[in-house]
């Protein structure tokens, strides 16, 4: 029994024969070495007698079976090793026990489902069973096989993509059905050949096929976005890339190209591009026409300002002279008529001036910058207070927030609002105006509130229209353009304008603009 001989080996028995004793000592040492080896190797080793009862279990086998040697010895291998009975192990073991020799095979064992390489060798009174755990290696192999199967499945079945590989010289080594369908070459026609045939002649002449591979080798990737050619000469637009394949040693082994036919998309893009260019042309053309119209309008405004105002100036001036020269020499009615000529001319002049202001606001280039409202409002208020009679009381709730605006346009707006606030008061009474700002999100609202005559509900929207007037025409001077200018200017600065009012209770006009930066 091997276990006996092994266990006894270390003790060494006395031997009367000197020579024999030396030989025995040598044998003992060898047995000692063998035993140490059995106890330390990572393979599981089992010794069975002819009845398949376990005689020896080494520590590696103990670990594999998860049980102590002392529990196992004497037991039948079928009972002690799960799933050994009826399987490959039993079959092979019986064969070796009856016929001798050895058996080597792979099988899964135990509830732990591990994969073992098993070697069974006959020995004097039974057999040795060697178990080597191959689970990790098998799993790796299986994974590799699965990956390879996947790869093949993809390459063979993806028809929308051409996938092909080349060696370092650019000769085709793999050509998938997608490539066959896209380029029209069967594998046997192109395997081993260079891919020049699939490039268009212009690119071939430029050496594109070789350049593409060189770029891929150098940069790790080369884009292939160009027209290609089918076997039948038809052209189509490809979007793809070539990547180099490197061996484990880092040496270049070849290339793989994946490409897609995107002719439809390319055509759409080209059409879109053409459409865009045409649109740009049309826009440029129209813009030019508009510019022309605008400059014609400017010329028109210029002549209006120059030519229309000249006769008015004459009317007003000569009437003024008459008025003064004839003072006290003509009757009251006549001097009243003269007065009316003067005021009529004045009104007409203001009207023209307002129309010009409106057209200027409409076409002026509006460049927004941060405006110090407080300074602007103060300047305007000083001017307006001086003009009004009796002197208006205008209160500014400092500080006023800064806004993003076009200086001249905003100044015109505020001036118009303040002059309205001062103007539309009950006859003889003193205008009281309050100006303040309020933050509303990213905007600032400038309020101009008066205690004047107010605006009837039905006029509230209309007053911002051209030539619209809310108040009694005969009592208050005005052209009906001031608020239209305000609205137009504010809109051009990207803001809003509005009013809250009740007839007889004053009005609250507001302008809303983006808040200015703190600079």
């Amino acid at each position: 029994m091997i276990s006996d001989s092994i266990s006894k080996a270390g003790e060494g028995g006395p031997n009367p024969d000197e020579q024999g004793a030396a030989v025995t000592a040598q044998q003992n040492r060898a047995e000692q070495h063998a035993f140490t080896m059995l106890e330390t190797i990572p393979d599981g080793v089992l010794n069975l007698d002819e009845n398949c009862a376990l005689q020896y279990v080494n520590p590696a086998a103990e670990a594999m079976l998860g049980r102590r040697s002392s529990e196992l010895l004497g037991g039948k291998i079928w009972d002690e090793v799960p799933s050994a009975r009826g399987g490959e192990l039993e079959k092979q073991l019986r064969k070796v026990l009856s016929a001798g020799g050895r058996a080597e095979f792979h099988t899964k064992l135990g509830p732990w489902n591990k994969y073992y390489q098993i070697l069974i060798c006959e020995c004097a009174e039974g057999a040795f069973v060697f178990l080597r755990d191959q689970t990790e290696r098998m799993e790796l192999t299986e994974a590799l096989e699965e990956a390879e199967a996947w790869r093949r499945l993809i390459i063979e079945n993806v028809k929308e993509f051409a996938i092909f590989s080349m060696d370092t010289e650019g000769r085709v080594t793999l050509w998938n059905p997608g490539a066959e369908k896209m380029f029209g070459y069967q594998p046997k026609e192109i395997l081993g050949e260079r891919t020049d045939a699939i490039f268009i002649p212009e690119d071939r002449a430029q050496g594109v096929p070789a350049k593409e591979l060189a770029e891929a080798a150098e940069k790790g990737r080369a884009k292939d976005e160009r027209w290609h050619m089918r076997k039948d000469g038809g052209r189509f637009f490809v979007s793809g890339a070539v990547v180099p394949l490197h061996g484990e040693d880092g040496r270049l082994r070849g290339f793989t190209k994946v490409a897609r036919d995107v002719t439809d998309r390319k055509k759409l893009e080209d059409e879109l591009q053409t459409a865009r260019e045409r649109l740009e042309e049309v826009v440029a053309e129209r813009t030019a026409k508009l510019r022309e119209t605008i400059s014609e309008l400017e010329v028109f405004s210029y002549s209006v300002s120059h030519d229309l105002r000249a006769p008015l100036r004459a009317m007003r001036s000569f009437s003024q002279i008459l008025e003064r020269n004839l003072a006290g020499k003509i009757d009251k009615r006549s001097s009243e008529f003269l007065r009316r000529i003067v005021t009529g001319a004045e009104r007409m002049d203001r009207l023209i001036q307002d129309v010009l202001d409106y057209s200027r606001v409409t076409r002026a280039e509006v460049k927004l910058r941060t405006v110090d409202l407080e300074k602007m409002v103060e300047d305007i208020v000083n001017e307006q207070t001086a003009l009004s009679e009796p002197r208006a009381e205008i209160q500014i709730a400092r500080p006023l927030l800064k806004v993003r605006a076009h200086d001249a346009s905003l100044s015109q707006c505020i001036s118009n609002l303040v002059s309205n606030a001062v103007k539309f008061v009950a006859p003889g009474s003193r205008a009281k105006v309050r100006i303040w700002t309020e933050r509303r999100g990213s905007c600032v609202r400038l309020w101009v509130e008066d205690e004047g005559v107010g605006i009837a509900h039905e006029y509230r929207e209309r007053i911002f229209g051209m030539f619209e007037r809310g108040a009694d025409q005969s009592r208050y001077e005005g052209t009906g353009i001031g608020l239209a200018i305000v609205r137009k200017a504010v809109e051009r600065m990207g803001g809003r304008v509005g009013v809250e009012s009740e007839e007889g209770r004053g009005s609250k006009f507001w302008i809303e603009l983006q808040e200015g930066a703190g600079d």
Partner: protein, 163 residues
């Protein structure tokens, strides 16, 4: 000694009449001479034709220039004065009805000494002339035209230089 005149370059007859009335009303101590277009202004200043007679048509101490003029525009006259004339330093006040920023900028660029919009009535014009007199004739020193200097060097004293 007769003071040097103000030269008005103006094509609108009403504005010429009004300016004459206003100059009289404002009691400006100098004559007003009016020419009707840009070419006439150039002829006057360069002494062409009848304007060669400087006793009758002396070089002006100040020019009131309208921009919109027949034949040669006010801006062209202004450029001619500054670059080609014998009176490059003469004070030129643009007086026009335009309020276009472009016109204003161009006038100053071309060398205008001031840009004013025509007042809408004669009373305002009289006020303007009074202010003008105060500023340009009392508070400011005016240049002596180059042409006049030549006269001085040549055949003795020319006309006096105003106040």
């Amino acid at each position: 000694m007769k003071p040097l005149p103000i030269l008005q370059v103006e094509d609108v007859e009403d504005d010429i009449t009004l300016m004459q009335l206003a100059v009289a009303e404002a009691q400006l101590d100098c004559p007003l001479i009016s020419v009707r277009d840009g070419q006439e202004a150039i002829d006057y200043l360069s002494g062409a034709g009848e304007y060669a007679e400087r006793q009758r048509y002396p070089l002006p101490r100040l020019i009131l220039l309208d921009l919109k003029l027949p034949r040669v525009s006010g801006l062209e006259v202004l450029r001619w004065i500054r670059h080609e004339s014998q009176v490059k330093s003469v004070v030129v006040l643009v007086m026009t009805s335009s309020t276009l920023q472009r016109d204003i900028n161009q006038a100053y660029l071309a060398g205008a000494n001031s840009f004013m919009t025509k007042p809408s009535g004669i009373l305002e014009l009289i006020d303007l002339l009074k202010a003008l007199e105060t500023f340009w004739f009392r508070l400011s020193e005016l240049p002596v035209p180059e042409a006049e200097q030549k006269n001085k060097q040549g055949d003795g004293p020319g006309p006096g230089s105003g106040t």
